[in-house]
């Protein structure tokens, strides 16, 4: 956190002044470790073992926050008799199809009344296991997770052998401190201290917070890492309370916004799923499957219809399903890495790359560049000539002779972009906070904002379209934004207002509960509804922090509804009283008949704690006054996920796809549902191959930014970290003859790169399964171009194309490699070296 989010780290420093104890768990001793109370080294790719052992410690010693767990989680719910755990099936959950490597999650569901609509649907889906598996991903249900039986059988004593609590106990029983020592390389003493601290700092009076970044997500089991943390935090009562939570520190200015209003293939704004060809022929089909009917996700028709109205305006009517058929349909994985394969195969012909640099920033860089070289046309928009724009001129494949400029048919347009100070608009930060940026000045030369580019491109396209049916969605698309300034920039505030929603009277809406299913409201992103409430750009509010409470509700605007802590109803006990005075936040004011506190309650303001839903209630009315997790169909925090994940209802430890270690827990070595691309452009290191004996991980440095396009050209940053280096322990350096400051070559099946050697005891050899495992660290900010003042080989070129099956994130945090002293070979010799390694 100190490395990559230094200014955010000031609050950790403040917390330490007030007595907070900070553990830093990382494969390397970093600048964060330097200011932690305890540094815990860990082998990359073993975090579920550590988290699982903490869960086991809590369960076996009954250290859970029982009142919270009983009231607010699904601990007491009874799971279907059909369910089989990884403990029963040696690393697989029930429902696995080894042919397709997919799960049918039907058996993971709660035991419930068969007449329930959701259960009926599950029965139908049983017959279509493959389809259901395709549909099993979290994105297919939107933010609310799967439609699950909202009222399953329960055992409040938590003794029923098939209740979630008991399933958890059995599932995690083998995640012991001894296993942690064996697989993570963490000593029993360190584990004991961590477990003791986490559990004693949870409960009524105290909370514990977990903070993570891509060290948890860039794995073939990444989503389950987060699930493991969620289970631990729910058991300890640390969700929805001040000082609790699981905080994702996101790495880019509006990466949260890019997920909320996604330029992602599988979701629409507000986490509404993209429709799937085989499931969603009509709006009703779509809504029947897109998440539950209870909880706030039960209003999905209002969210979806309002989106369709925002996009297709008057052309979207009740009679034509609000133009639901205008949405193109998915038929599977259309994610980034599949797209690259499509480029190599020639199905993808045109490519827009907007402020991104996949030639350096994406895993398996060679495959990325092979794809770029096989396009018909490529449009790159950036501040500098990033490597993605110039691969045809100076890419590494030219040096090896794999490509020749004159053979590359890709037509390339480089269209320069405006910087963040040359346009107005909002970023959504890592806390879901939208902050409006004022424009300081006009961009230079041909530089234009991406808003300008896509707005004017849209105008040009609309001018050229035909009256044909294929062009109807474009023809009917609402595309009228006021133009401003010398370049005719579309008004960003007008776009934000459309995102925030407008009511039947033409006035901006103030809250997503005002959205209607009948087409009378329009809203570009339902979770952002209210960002333009009272016709005021709420994201532009800037009442100084020092004039406000610590929550600073009048600085910017947080989705949803300006709530700063999600699920904050859980900060009070079931009766609505604060769990403790120390941790008071949102609580029920009996006299006023409303929830109150320093934040906006993430709950219906006047729904009393004693509310019990009537039979057949829908949407939020179906949740009781003690159900804080209002986006969930049952209002509960899910210790066990009966649906919504494609690789299991519980996290299980699987080794990284490329690992030097055998999985001692199960016969199943790695995530059975992981997504890989076994083809010549995407070779893999065999598990346990002696020629790839070391563990490799990548990371960022404070002084640089991602693929380097925003840092390598800046003298003041480039001088601080001028060269790619690899961090190795003195022991490994001695073993391999690596000299500090000299060169080393790092090899995987993909390629070999060279880096300067930084010998440091901050990288510690670990003892794993009775032998020494060395880890090597590589920051990934370098490339050959981008107008950089410094250059270096591309660390991501080494990484495999192996993805988490839930979210399609690549495993760039854990792989295997070899290390050799000296610089890498050049030209054809490099290919010869790789060939040697590929075939052992």
């Amino acid at each position: 956190m100190a490395e990559c989010h230094p200014v955010g780290f000031q609050w950790v420093v403040e917390a330490r002044y007030r007595g907070a104890k900070v553990f830093h768990i990382d494969p390397r001793f970093t600048r964060t470790s330097a200011l932690a109370d305890r540094y815990v080294p860990i082998r990359v790719g073993s975090d579920i073992v550590l988290l699982g052992a903490l869960i086991n410690h809590v369960l076996e010693n009954e250290l859970d926050f029982r009142e919270y767990v009983l009231a607010y989680t699904n601990a007491s719910m009874i799971v279907s008799e059909e369910y089989r755990d990884t403990e029963d099936l040696d690393g697989l959950f029930s429902g696995f199809d080894p042919e397709t490597r997919t799960y049918d999650p039907a058996t993971w569901s709660y035991e419930g009344a068969p007449e329930e609509a959701a259960a009926g649907e599950r029965a139908e889906q049983m017959d279509h296991g493959r389809e259901h598996a395709d549909m099993g991903g979290p994105d297919q249900y939107g933010a609310g997770g799967a439609s699950a039986n909202p009222r399953p059988m329960k055992d409040p004593t938590l003794r029923h052998p098939r209740c979630v609590y008991q399933i958890l106990r059995r599932h995690f029983a083998r995640y012991t401190p001894e296993l942690v020592a064996e697989l993570c390389g963490i000593s029993p003493e360190d584990f004991a201290e961590l477990a003791e601290t986490v559990t004693t700092n949870s409960g009524r009076e105290r909370t514990t917070m977990w903070v993570y970044s891509v060290g948890w997500t860039q794995h073939t089991v990444g989503a389950q890492y987060i699930r493991a943390a969620s289970i631990l935090q729910l058991l300890l009562g640390n969700i929805g309370r001040p000082g609790g939570g699981i905080l994702a520190l996101r790495g880019h200015a509006s990466i949260q916004g890019s997920t909320d209003i996604p330029t992602l293939f599988n979701i629409l704004p507000g986490y509404l799923p993209m429709p799937h060809a085989h499931q969603h022929e009509t709006l009703d089909d779509y809504l029947a499957r897109a998440g539950g009917d209870t909880g706030f996700w039960g209003r999905k028709r209002s969210y979806m219809v309002s989106l369709l109205k925002a996009w297709w305006g008057d052309a979207a009517t009740e009679d034509n399903d609000f133009r639901f058929d205008h949405l193109p349909r998915l038929t599977g994985d259309h994610g980034h890495y599949s797209t690259v394969m499509g480029q190599i195969d020639g199905t993808v012909k045109g490519y827009f790359v907007v402020g991104e640099n996949p030639a350096v920033g994406s895993a398996g860089g060679r495959a990325q560049r092979l794809g770029l070289a096989n396009l018909e046309w490529l449009v790159v928009r950036d501040l500098t000539l990033v490597e993605t724009a110039t691969f045809w001129k100076d890419g590494p494949e030219l040096e090896t002779g794999e490509m020749r400029t004159e053979d590359i048919g890709t037509e390339v347009f480089f269209v320069p972009a405006a910087s963040h100070v040359e346009k107005d608009g909002t970023f959504t930060n890592t806390q879901r906070l939208l902050q409006w940026r004022e424009k300081a000045l006009d961009p230079p030369g041909d530089c234009r904002s991406d808003l300008w580019f896509f707005y004017h491109l849209g105008k040009l396209l609309k001018e050229r379209i035909t009256s044909g049916e294929i062009d109807r969605p474009l023809r009917e698309l609402t595309w009228d934004y006021p133009e401003e300034g010398v370049h005719g920039d579309p008004s960003a505030s007008a776009v934000l207002r459309e995102i925030g929603g407008v009511g039947p009277d033409g006035r901006a809406l103030s809250d997503y509960t005002e959205l209607k299913p009948d087409g009378s409201t329009q809203c570009g992103c339902w979770i952002y509804c209210g960002v333009y409430a009272d016709e005021v750009n709420q994201a532009a509010r800037r009442r100084p922090g020092r004039e406000q409470s610590p929550e600073a509700p009048e600085w910017g605007w947080a989705w949803p509804a300006n709530r700063r802590i999600l699920y904050n109803r859980a900060s009070a006990d079931p009766e609505g009283r604060p769990w403790s005075e120390r941790k008071a936040y949102i609580y029920w004011d009996e006299k006023k008949g409303e929830w109150t506190g320093p934040d906006v309650p993430d709950f219906e303001k006047t729904k009393p704690p004693g509310y019990r839903p009537p039979e057949g209630a829908l949407a939020e009315a179906a949740l009781s006054g003690t159900d804080p997790f209002i986006m969930q169909a049952d209002g509960k925090g899910w210790l066990y996920a009966p649906a919504g994940l494609v690789d299991g209802p519980l996290p299980a430890h699987y080794e990284p796809f490329e690992s030097p270690v055998r999985n001692p827990l199960y016969a199943q070595q790695d995530n059975p549902a992981r997504r890989i691309y076994p083809r010549p452009e995407s070779p893999y290191n065999p598990v346990g191959a002696p020629r790839f004996p070391y563990v490799l991980t990548t990371y960022r440095l404070t002084e640089h930014h991602t693929a380097g396009g925003m840092s390598r050209p800046l003298a003041y940053l480039a001088e601080l970290q001028p060269e790619l280096f690899c961090e190795v322990s003195p022991t490994l350096a001695a073993e391999l003859g690596l000299a500090n400051g000299d060169w080393a070559t790092i090899v995987t099946s993909r390629t070999a790169i060279e880096a300067r050697v930084l010998v440091t005891e901050r990288v510690r050899p670990l003892r794993i399964q009775g032998r020494t495992v060395h880890q090597i660290g590589l920051p990934y900010h370098w490339g050959w171009g981008s107008g950089g003042l410094v250059t270096g080989d591309i660390a991501n070129d080494l990484m495999p194309l192996a993805l988490d099956p839930n979210v399609y994130i690549q495993e760039s945090k854990a792989t295997t490699c070899d290390v050799r002293p000296g610089r890498r070979p050049r030209g054809r010799d490099l290919l010869a070296l790789i060939e040697e390694y590929r075939h052992g």
Partner: protein, 186 residues
Amino acid sequence: MAGGGWFLRWPVIRQLRGQDGRGEAARSARTDALRPRVEEADSVARSVCPYCAVGCGQLVYVKDGKVSQIEGDPDSPISRGRLCPKGSASKQLVTHAGRQTKVLYRRPYGTDWEPLDLDTAMDMIADRVLRTRRDTWQQEHEGRVVRRTLGIASLGGATLDNEENYLMKKLYTALGAIQVENQARI
């Protein structure tokens, strides 16, 4: 007396005339005139750092049509005026010499960049989008209506504004392009 003027301003002499031989004695006219350059700014925009997702407040000072300084916004409850090295280098980000400000074009099999007019580039890109879309249109796939193209893809960075992502997703979806991705995946 001209001669006496320069003589009295000679630093050594001024030092000698001072109380302790130092301090006020040695100031030049330039020193006397020093003020923080932000005082002379024509405008100040309240902005947000474009690097990580902490969302630190920035003040962007503009003088004579150029950014003269970018520093932390003390009003921000997130950052309290502080910036990391990247945030502190933001002025260099927007003003450095390596920034490309002209459209560049590389024709198929071409060996170098060529200049291109922005309007022409926009027209050419629009033509290619429509052509590729027509050539690769899928009305149906495996017997189901999909109305899409797999011929056009997009990858965006996560420094895109919400408004930009919104127009992109809206336009691509209307075009039937589904392979729309973002750094947020990666």
